[in-house]
């Protein structure tokens, strides 16, 4: 059978596209642009022919018209024939609320010009419907539905359950999903079911149009967009074309360091030189966009630039990140477009496609951790489609140096890392089934089939599906069934339906997939830096802190002193080891594909050193291989030389394990596979080791490796024991008592509506949600270890937080000896291990149960009392 997901080989010619369009749009386009962009030449004919299509192209001009031209043309022609109906023809969904207004403007502008050209009104209505839409705007929509509806995934799910609005969705013809690459998370899973619900309501087959930045693999993204259908012959993928327009802009990218060496330099000097470098770059360009990875770093950079160069940066600098108010974000965006800003510093919020006007330089402060993200960020520079996008990485430590250098090579060679969508999420499923039951009665088998149309649920097994039905029907709570039941289920007629008067209200006010989070500021209590805000921590984390606890934040150690309001006061410059794991820091993980590229580079370097090549030869290789300058090549060479001379260089075929003794025993695994894989591997090994010793052990994780710390550590046994076959079972046990599972359980419980964030007019604080969710998890466990919400929390930890799939690959490589293991005893950790050790431990693998712990504490305290 020919695959139903196919790449388009060549675009239509300009003239071909013009002939496809009606007079109005064709002549407007000719006058306005003269010709079509490459992506428009792919998309317009396909959409005209009602073929679903995924267009992968960089963010930039022409995107709105790429998706909408064929649809506008259709609507205008209908209007001319007076055949425009009062219904929604096209639903446009974007994960970014801020994008909605942009799109509206980008559509209404051309439409107005076309009306002027024709000297008449078409009567085409375009409306934005998001959480911000006012009551009166909503009422107007119910009177006269928009022909083009611009919305977000969350609002779409609400509209699908709104009785009166559903009537307007009965014959939707087009659905556009924008920024589809940003949907590789539960919002995407949620949307994929909404799309099937929309198709279910609509009597017409909906042509789906996906717009994506450069990501891989595109077939997967296409499958996510269109899903599956059940025909007489059985299940098959729906048809979809892919237009891979690629990166049309040229990229000019390089890596910079503030100082010659990154090791023999004081923190202060490094900081001075860093801001000098940033200032120099900014001054050399018109408008610079700086990406940092965290919100606190964003604030810090703005603060320092203003402080150090008071005459240069006053009104012309701004910060943009998600914890700023909507108003200040909009103002920054507007001033950017007006060209009033010299430099804007952002965390991740300007990554996606909001129009930000002319940017001529993008600075990446710290590694963006994936090639796709780096390209997305750098792609914000360069105004016109064919202009060069200029990006500069600035690195501050040696691991970042190597990582960013390999990354820029991958960018030049267009090696894009792969994304994936979470699958079979039972919490999101529960939310949707609840919503669907509110709409109408369903036959469960039909419902199951509808769910399986979504790519994210195509493989969902019957047991899990029915477990969710049972959960919603209150069958797990034998004692008080009516309290828990959200739907009724009749196993005779195999039907389900809504239950309770409040159902609609509960659904509408608790919908969505983004969990509530709240943060408190971490502020220095005294000394020189008194009052300086160094970052934020999760409210739930704060609850666990005791005065005197040492924790790690942004790579620095702090001692917790006390709390006042929304501030946690700390002492800086603490040298004691951390006493509490910093599980709150959900840092961007290094992509597996990029990690493997770095591992490969490490192998090439190891081979050069063992072959005894000269320093000059090796530096020459680095320069040529990574496309870097002398300064960078020197620094990389030095780092690798130090490692080579000490214990050798670990790489894709050699895993070094360092053994050393400090306040306890440590095993350091040089497993450069990204923190998601390391999270899985370290916990599995640590659990096996802890069980053998009967005591809890600590683990520390970063992208480049992990360590295990404890009393007795039998590494060899654990390495032999853990395999790709048994890692799922081991992890299921290993994560059972972790903080991350508790946290994710809360998220899943709110998505699965076990915890109603908003109920009877009251909303719950995050702290309260977390506290109660821990009791909930405890209680649920007693009912069944396979309770769907608990099962989902575990899946989320193992597949979304960790990356078990790739961890299994690594385990197979280890067992097949594709990766050799070498143990080395050391007095101090090797250069490559340093960053990992410095950051402290990330979590505790708990083996000892509560009673055993009590007995041990009792003995210890009694002994001291004697």
């Amino acid at each position: 059978m020919v695959g139903r997901i196919r790449f388009m080989k060549r675009p239509a010619s300009n003239e071909q596209v013009f002939t496809l369009l009606g007079n109005t749009v064709a002549s407007w386009f000719r006058k306005k642009f003269g010709s079509f962009t490459l992506s428009q030449r792919y998309a317009i004919p396909a959409i005209k022919a009602r073929k679903s299509i995924l267009v992968s192209s960089p963010t930039g001009s022409g995107k709105t018209l790429c998706a909408f031209t064929a649809i506008l043309d259709y609507l205008i022609e209908l209007s001319k024939r007076n055949e425009l109906e009062d219904k929604v023809y096209c639903v446009y969904v974007s994960p970014l609320r801020a994008l909605s207004r942009d799109i509206e403007v980008n559509l209404k502008g051309p439409l107005a010009e076309m009306q002027e050209q024709e000297g008449k009104e078409f009567g085409i209505r375009i409306a934005v419907r998001t959480g911000d839409t006012t009551q009166s705007e909503r009422a107007a929509m119910l009177k006269k539905p928009p022909h083009i509806l611009i919305t977000t995934p969350e609002t779409l799910a609400i509209l699908l359950t709104t009785k009166r609005f559903r009537e307007f969705l009965r014959a939707v013809e087009f659905c556009i999903v924008d920024e589809i690459h940003a949907m590789a998370n539960k919002r995407g899973t949620h949307l994929s079911l909404s799309l099937e619900r929309l198709q279910h309501i609509s009597v017409m087959p909906i042509t789906r149009i996906g717009l994506s930045a450069t990501v891989a693999p595109l077939e997967l993204v296409a499958r996510f967009l269109v899903g599956y259908e059940k025909t007489a012959k059985g299940w098959q993928e729906r048809e979809c074309w892919i237009a891979d327009v690629g990166f049309e802009k040229k990229i000019d990218v390089s890596v910079l360091t503030p100082t010659e060496s990154l090791i023999y330099v004081h923190a202060e000097e490094l900081s001075d030189k860093l801001y000098e470098l940033i200032d120099k770059l900014v001054q050399e360009h018109r408008t610079t966009l700086i990406f940092t990875n965290t919100r606190s770093a964003t604030e810090r950079v703005v603060h320092h630039l203003k402080e150090r160069f008071p005459s240069k940066y006053v009104e012309n600098i701004g910060a943009h990140h998600s914890s700023l108010s909507r108003h200040s974000r909009l103002s920054i965006e507007q001033r950017l477009r007006n060209g009033e800003l010299r430099v804007v510093v952002t965390s991740t919020s300007l990554e996606l496609g909001i129009d930000i006007g002319y940017i001529d330089l993008v600075i990446l402060l710290g590694s963006p951790k994936s090639v796709a993200r780096a390209m997305q960020r750098i792609g914000r520079a360069g105004h016109k489609l064919h202009e060069t996008a200029k990006g500069r990485f600035i690195v501050l430590d040696q691991d970042d140096l190597v990582e960013c250098s390999v990354m820029q090579k991958a960018i030049k060679e267009k090696k894009i890392d792969k994304i994936d969508f979470p699958r079979n999420c039972l919490d999101v499923l529960a939310q949707h089934i609840y919503g669907m039951a509110i709409e109408q009665r369903w036959n469960v088998d039909e419902l199951y089939n509808l769910v399986r149309q979504s790519y994210c649920y195509h493989e969902l097994n019957r047991e899990d599906f029915f477990a969710v039905i049972s959960y919603l029907a209150g069958e797990y709570a034998l004692e008080a069934r009516d309290v828990y039941a959200k739907i009724w289920y009749d196993s005779e007629t195999r039907e389900i339906g809504r239950r309770g008067k409040l159902a609609r209200m509960i659904y509408m006010t608790n919908i969505g997939t983004i969990p509530d989070e709240s943060y408190v500021n971490v502020v220095i209590a005294g000394g020189e830096r008194k009052g300086v805000k160094v970052g934020v921590i999760d409210e739930g984390f704060l609850e666990r802190l005791r005065p005197g606890d040492v924790f790690v934040l942004g790579g620095e150690r702090y001692e917790f002193l006390y709390t006042r309001g929304m501030n946690a006061y700390v002492k800086a410059s603490v040298y004691r080891p951390p006493t509490i794991p910093s599980w709150f820091s959900e840092i961007l993980p290094l992509s597996f594909d990029l990690a493997c590229e770095i591992q490969r580079f490490r192998r090439l370097m190891a081979e050069k050193f063992t072959r005894g090549m000269s320093a000059e030869e090796i530096k020459g290789f680095i320069k040529k291989h990574l496309h870097v300058d002398d300064k960078i090549a020197n620094a990389i060479y030095q780092y690798f030389y130090d490692q080579h001379a000490y214990i050798g260089i670990p790489h894709e075929r050699l895993m070094l394990i360092e053994h050393y003794k400090a306040e306890k025993n440590f095993l350091v695994f040089h497993s450069l596979y990204g923190r998601r894989v390391n999270d899985a591997l370290s916990r599995a090994y640590a659990y096996v080791i802890a069980q053998a010793g009967g005591r809890d052990v600590q683990i520390g994780i970063n992208d480049n490796g992990f360590f295990i710390g404890g009393e007795k550590l039998h590494a060899e046994k654990a390495l032999k024991f853990v395999t790709s076959e048994n890692i799922d079972e081991i992890l299921k046990e290993a994560i059972d008592r972790t903080e991350i599972l508790k946290r994710r359980f809360r998220h899943c419980a709110t998505r699965g509506l076990m915890i109603l964030r908003s109920y009877k007019g009251k909303t719950k604080s995050v702290g309260r949600q977390q506290m109660k969710s821990e009791m909930l998890m405890h209680a649920v466990r007693k009912i069944s270890q396979e309770f769907p919400i608990l099962k989902e929390a575990r899946r989320e930890v193992m597949e979304d937080v960790m990356d078990v799939a790739n961890a299994k690959k690594v385990l197979d490589w280890l067992h097949s000896k594709k990766i050799r293991v070498k143990h080395v005893n050391v007095k101090v950790p090797s250069p490559f291990a340093l960053n990992l050790i410095m950051q402290g431990y990330a979590d505790l693998i708990k083996i000892e149960d509560k009673l055993e712990f009590l007995k041990r504490m009792y003995d210890a305290i009694k002994k001291m009392q004697k």
């Binding site: 797990y476 709570a477 004692e479 008080a480 309290v483 828990y484 666990r544 005791r546 005197g548 006493t579 809890d696 600590q698 419980a749 509506l753 076990m754 915890i755 109603l756 964030r757 908003s758 109920y759 009877k760 009251k762 719950k764 109660k772 969710s773 009791m775 909930l776 405890h778 209680a779 649920v780 007693k782 009912i783 505790l844 708990k846 509560k850 009673l851 712990f853 009590l854 041990r856 504490m857 009792y858 210890a860 305290i861 009694k862 001291m864 009392q865």
Partner: protein
């Protein structure tokens, strides 16, 4: 602590003051043939449900199981003292909550000649319950020189007692080995104005209570130095951990 472990603690009582035994989460005054339980908070889970937490119900079953275990050890007693907060209150009271409250009182009645209800701060609806069951509600109750008192509001007669038994505080202690910390229910035994003061843990399962090492508040309407109190931790049996200040000192060293 797990329910099944707590159940075994009823088999291994410990004398915490002359003639006064800690049996699980209850007190047994053997010579007076008296059992004391505090802060049952029946309907706690239901209150959470009303707030929008889908908490499965386990409290009632666990509470009755523990009570049955308790009376299996003590046999039928002369009196049971409910030291306040029998019922957790939150909005309207459902049929189920009435049922559970009466079922617990029936279980107590079956195992004792009399039930004495002490008024707690959560007990605003105790009266109709007491009326239905023909019970009296007291602010304070004396058996010889032992005073039974919930703890939220000072009572003048407290000064007459030699020993005061109080609830209300839900004491629990967090043990910490420098790496991890776990919370356990406990009894606190110490002095107030030269009298013995026993603070009882809550009988309520599911929640351990308030960490006495972390909270600066005493809760009880009395002034005393909690650091000098002896701590008895409840697990599979009752563990005498010694003075609170000593524990804190050992754990921070």
């Amino acid at each position: 602590m797990e329910h099944d472990i707590i159940l075994t603690s009823y088999e291994h009582g410990r004398e915490i003051l002359p003639g006064i035994y800690a049996l699980g989460k209850a007190l047994w005054l053997k010579t007076l043939s008296m059992v004391v339980i505090a802060d049952l908070h029946i309907g706690y889970e239901e209150a959470l449900n009303k707030e929008g937490f889908l908490m499965p119900r386990q409290q009632f079953r666990q509470t009755t199981e523990e009570l049955e275990k308790l009376f299996k050890i003590t046999g039928k007693v002369n009196s049971v003292i409910v030291l306040g907060d029998l019922k957790h209150e939150f909005g309207e009271i459902s049929k189920q909550e009435w049922f559970e409250t009466f079922a617990v009182l029936d279980l107590l009645a079956k195992n004792s000649k009399e039930i004495i209800l002490i008024k707690g701060n959560h007990d605003t609806i105790l009266e109709p319950i007491a009326k239905r069951k023909n019970l009296e509600i007291k602010e304070i109750y004396f058996a010889n020189d032992v005073a039974f008192w919930h703890g939220h509001k000072f009572h003048v007669e407290l000064v007459k007692a030699k020993t005061i038994i109080a609830g209300h505080m839900h004491p629990a202690i967090s043990l910490y080995d420098g790496v991890k910390s776990e919370l356990y229910k406990c009894f606190l035994v110490g002095k107030w104005k030269g009298k013995n003061l026993v603070i009882m843990p809550s009988f309520l399962p599911i929640v351990e209570g308030m960490d006495v090492l972390k909270s600066k508040e005493l809760w009880l309407d009395l002034k005393f130095n909690i650091n000098n109190f002896n701590t008895y931790v409840i697990a599979d049996k009752i563990y005498d951990f010694g003075k609170l200040k000593e524990i804190a000192k050992r754990m921070s060293s």
